[in-house]
C-alpha cells in the first residue's frame, strides 16, 4: 500500500512541500505522547524495525530508538563493529539477510552518500535515511524545520543562514532542500573552501562572512566542523576557524534582532560555536533534540502503512 510519503524516506530533495508539511503536522501530536506518563502508544505494535548503523552515532540512534519504542515497534540494533558487516559483507547482502527475517523497516546510517537510496531500491521494506555520507539527513532537516516553525509560527519568508562546513554536511543539504520547499530564504555562510561547487544553483545565496549572515538572518543553523577537515587541508586551523567563522557572543550581540540559534550536535564548543551562545537564551539546541523524537515518530508512523506484503511477495524463504 502506498503511504503518503512513498516507500522510503531518503532525502528531503525528493519530498514535496505538502509531504513535508504533513510530517511536521503529524509530529505535533507526537510531541504530547512523549510528555505522557506512559510514553507509549500501540500504533506500530507488531512492526519490526532494524536500526542499521554503519557509523557511530549516539544522538540519532537513541532518538530513533525512542521514537520506535514509543510507537510500540520491536527494534533490533545492528552496529557495524562485531557484525558480519565488519567481516566484509556488502551492504546489499546485509540488508537482504535482514529482510529474509521479515522486517518492516530499516533505519540506516552509512558513510557512503546514496547508501539509503541504494538500499531502498533493493529491498521491499521501508528505508529511512538516518544520514548517508555527505548527502542528506532528512529527519535532522525536518526536526530543524519543526523547531523553527515552533519558534516563528511559519517557515515561509523566514531567513535562515546555514553556517559552516556545507561541503561535507548532510544536515546542511537536508535543511536547504526542506526550507526552500517551504518558502524560506536560505543563505549559506562559511569559508569558500568548505562550500560545495555551484551551491547557488540549489537556490541559496552565499554570504561569505558570518557578521553579514548575523545582520541578515532570522535564524542561524551552525553546522558541526569535523575536526579532520584541518588535517585534510580545507582550513588552516581550528583556532583561526573560530576567530573568523565561529559564532561568539560578541558577534551575536551586534545582531539587529533576536536570532534563533540551532546546532545539530554534537557541538565543538569553542570552534564553530562558543559555549555562551550554545547555552544562551537564543539557543534552541535542546528543543531540537526533543523535536527529533516527535519528527521521527511521525515519519515512522506515516511510512508504517506501506509495509511489504509478504504473502503477496511470494514468500522469501
Amino acid at each position: 500500500m502506498p503511504t503518503p510519503l512513498g516507500k522510503d524516506l531518503t532525502a528531503l530533495e525528493y519530498l514535496s512541500a505538502d509531504q513535508i508539511r504533513l510530517i511536521l503536522d503529524t509530529a505535533e501530536p507526537f510531541k504530547e505522547v512523549s510528555e505522557r506518563q506512559i510514553k507509549k502508544v500501540p500504533a506500530l505494535r507488531g512492526k519490526t524495525i532494524v536500526n542499521l548503523f554503519f557509523e557511530a552515532s549516539t544522538r540519532t540512534r537513541i532518538s530513533f530508538e525512542f521514537a520506535e519504542k514509543r510507537l510500540s515497534a520491536d527494534t533490533v540494533n545492528v552496529a557495524s563493529s562485531g557484525s558480519s558487516v565488519s567481516k566484509g559483507e556488502t551492504l546489499v547482502d546485509t540488508a537482504r539477510n535482514l529482510e529474509a527475517m521479515h522486517i518492516d523497516m530499516v533505519v540506516i546510517r552509512h558513510h557512503a552518500s546514496g547508501s539509503a537510496e541504494f538500499l531502498g531500491k533493493r529491498i521491499r521494506s521501508s528505508v529511512i535515511n538516518a544520514g548517508d555520507g555527505k548527502h542528506e539527513h532528512p529527519t535532522q532537516g525536518l526536526l530543524d524545520i519543526l523547531t523553527l516553525r515552533d519558534k516563528f509560527g511559519k517557515i515561509e519568508g523566514l531567513k535562515v543562514a546555514i553556517c559552516g562546513d556545507l561541503l561535507h554536511s548532510r544536515v546542511g543539504r537536508s535543511n536547504i532542500h526542506g526550507l526552500l520547499k517551504l518558502g524560506a530564504e536560505v543563505a549559506v555562510c562559511g569559508p569558500a573552501s568548505l562550500l560545495p561547487r555551484d551551491v547557488e544553483s540549489l537556490g541559496v545565496t552565499v554570504i561569505p562572512h558570518i557578521e553579514d549572515a548575523i545582520q541578515w538572518a532570522d535564524a542561524l543553523n551552525i553546522l558541526r566542523l569535523q575536526l579532520e577537515r584541518m588535517t585534510a587541508g580545507y582550513i588552516p586551523s581550528l583556532r583561526e576557524y573560530n576567530r573568523v567563522f565561529g559564532l561568539s557572543t560578541v558577534r551575536l550581540d551586534r545582531a539587529p534582532k533576536d536570532l534563533v540559534i540551532m546546532h545539530p550536535g554534537p557541538m565543538n564548543r569553542g570552534v564553530e560555536i562558543d559555549s555562551e551562545v550554545a547555552d544562551g537564551p537564543h539557543s534552541v539546541i535542546l528543543p531540537q533534540v526533543t523535536n527529533g523524537v516527535a519528527v521521527r515518530m511521525a515519519v515512522l508512523y506515516l511510512l508504517a502503512g506501506g509495509a511489504p506484503d509478504w504473502a503477496q511477495a511470494g514468500g522469501s524463504e
Partner: protein, 429 residues
C-alpha cells in the same frame, strides 16, 4: 589459405583515400585485392551481397581493457576480441593495467599469443610507461616494442611525475611510439567519484573538477613541445581540454587526442539516483563539455574515438557509488552510439565518423589497417548504418554487462567483420 571474398555492391567508404561510392571489394590472400565496379571474382570466391550496406576499413579502438592476465572472470583476450569484432572492430589496443602489469616482453608476448589463439580482432598490446605502473622507473620500451607493443601508457593512472613523463616522451621517440597519458592531477582528483558540479553537490559525492584533467593536458602539451615526442591524450572529457589541444595543434605540436562514446553521449546527470553504471574516470561532465567534445570530433581537434572498454563484474557495480569501480564496456555499443549521437544529428558525415574510428586511429598508433588501398590488410567491416536496435547487455559477447546504455535504441551496427581476409564475425538473426 582462405577463400577469396567479394563484397558486392555496397557503399564503399575509404576515409584514407577520401572515396565514397558504390563498388565491389575483393579480398584475397589476406589482402585487399581490388576495389572497383563489377569485379569478376576468381573461382571459389565467397560473394557477399552488400547492397544497402556500408563497406569500410575495419574499426580500430586504441583504448581497451582486456583484464587478461589477472582478472579473467571479467574479460579475456578472447572474449574482448570477440566483442570487438561484434562491434565492427578489427583491431584493438590493450591497455597494460593487468595483473601482472604489461611492463615486460613476457606479458606482451602472452597477450599476443592469446589473441592469435582467439583469432578474432587483432590485439595490439600497449606497454606500461613505468615498471609496475608505479610511476617511478621507466619500463623497457625497447623490449616492449620488440615484443609487439605499439605504444606505452600508465592508463588507469596518470604519469604523475613531470620528470618521468618528460623522459618517457624523449625515450619513446627512439622507437617512434606515442605515450598515451591518462590526464588527471592525482591530488585534485583524490577521493572523487564523479564530476564536480551541481550534481555532485546535490548527491553529496566528492567531485573531480575539470581542472584535474586540464592541468595534466596542459602539462603534457608543454612536455610535447619540450621533447618533440608524441603525446596521445586519452579519453578527453572537458571543454578546457579541447581548447588546450586546439591551441597545441595550431602551434604544430605532436599531440593527438581521443574521446569516448560516453563522453559525447552522456552528462553527469546520468549519475542521479547514484547510478554506478554512470561512474567513470574521467567522469561524465556537463552539457557544455559534451558539446565541446562533439565539436572537437568535428573539427579534428579530437583525432580518435576510443571506447575505454572497461569490463567489471555485475556485483562490483552493485555497490555504494563511492565504492563502485570506474568504467563501462564499450566495444559493442560504440558504433551505434556514434551513429545516433554524431551522424544522425548532422554533426559528422559517415565518412568523417569512419575517419575517427578507423583511419585516424591506425595512423595515430602506426597500425596496419584503416584503409581499403590495394595491398592493405583485408581488415574490413560491413555495416548496416540504418538498422535500429535495442541494447541488451545479456546479448553481449563481452564477459561483462556494465553499461549505462541498456534499453537504449541505437542506430547502425556491424553485420560482417573480416580480419586478415577471414570472416571473424557474421551477425545472425
Amino acid at each position: 589459405m582462405s577463400r577469396p571474398i567479394l563484397l558486392k555492391g555496397g557503399r564503399v567508404i575509404d576515409p584514407s583515400r577520401r572515396s565514397d561510392g558504390t563498388a565491389d571489394v575483393l579480398l584475397q590472400g589476406g589482402r585487399i585485392e581490388a576495389v572497383g565496379l563489377n569485379i569478376l571474382p576468381p573461382d571459389g570466391t565467397q560473394v557477399v551481397e552488400c547492397a544497402g550496406k556500408v563497406v569500410a576499413p575495419g574499426l580500430i579502438d586504441v583504448h581497451v581493457h582486456l583484464r587478461e592476465p589477472g582478472q579473467e572472470d571479467l574479460e579475456t583476450v578472447a572474449t574482448g576480441a570477440m566483442a570487438a569484432v561484434a562491434g565492427g572492430f578489427t583491431g584493438i589496443c590493450a591497455m597494460p593495467n593487468t595483473d601482472p602489469v604489461c611492463d615486460n616482453q613476457g606479458v606482451v608476448g602472452f597477450v599476443i599469443a592469446q589473441a592469435q589463439r582467439a583469432a578474432k580482432a587483432r590485439v595490439y598490446p600497449i606497454g606500461a610507461v613505468s615498471v609496475g605502473q608505479k610511476g617511478q622507473q621507466l619500463a623497457e620500451f625497447g623490449e616492449l616494442v620488440g615484443a609487439g607493443a605499439v605504444a606505452v601508457s600508465d592508463d588507469g593512472k596518470p604519469v604523475a611525475s613531470s620528470h618521468l613523463m618528460r623522459m618517457a616522451l624523449e625515450y619513446a621517440k627512439t622507437f617512434g611510439i606515442p605515450v598515451a597519458d591518462h590526464c588527471e592531477d592525482p591530488t585534485l582528483a583524490a577521493g572523487g567519484s564523479m564530476h564536480e558540479g551541481i550534481i555532485s553537490t546535490r548527491l553529496g559525492l566528492k567531485g573531480i573538477p575539470a581542472a584535474a584533467e586540464e592541468i595534466m593536458v596542459a602539462r603534457d602539451i608543454l612536455l610535447a613541445e619540450l621533447t618533440g615526442g608524441h603525446v596521445h591524450l586519452c579519453h578527453m572529457s572537458t571543454r578546457g581540454s579541447v581548447e588546450l589541444i586546439r591551441r597545441a595543434k595550431d602551434a604544430g605540436l605532436r599531440v593527438t587526442a581521443e574521446a569516448c562514446p560516453h563522453h559525447f553521449a552522456l552528462t553527469h546527470e546520468s549519475c542521479l539516483g547514484y547510478n554506478t553504471n554512470a561512474k567513470m574516470n574521467p567522469p561524465l561532465r556537463e552539457d557544455l563539455d559534451r558539446e565541446a567534445i562533439r565539436q572537437g570530433l568535428k573539427d579534428g581537434t579530437i583525432d580518435v574515438i576510443a571506447t575505454d572498454h572497461a569490463p567489471h563484474h555485475y556485483d562490483a557495480k552493485e555497490r555504494e557509488f563511492d565504492d563502485a569501480p570506474n568504467g563501462i564496456i564499450g566495444l559493442e555499443t560504440a558504433f551505434g552510439l556514434a551513429m545516433a549521437e554524431l551522424v544522425n544529428t548532422g554533426l559528422l558525415s559517415l565518412p568523417d565518423l569512419l575517419l575517427r574510428m578507423s583511419t585516424t586511429p591506425a595512423r595515430t598508433f602506426n597500425l596496419p589497417g584503416g584503409t581499403l588501398a590495394t595491398g592493405a590488410p583485408a581488415d574490413v567491416v560491413v555495416l548496416d548504418p540504418a538498422i535500429q536496435w535495442v541494447v541488451q547487455p545479456e546479448a553481449f559477447f563481452s564477459k561483462s554487462r556494465n553499461t549505462p546504455f541498456a534499453g537504449r535504441t541505437l542506430t547502425g551496427r556491424a553485420e560482417l567483420t573480416i580480419v586478415r581476409g577471414q570472416v571473424a564475425f557474421q551477425r545472425t538473426s
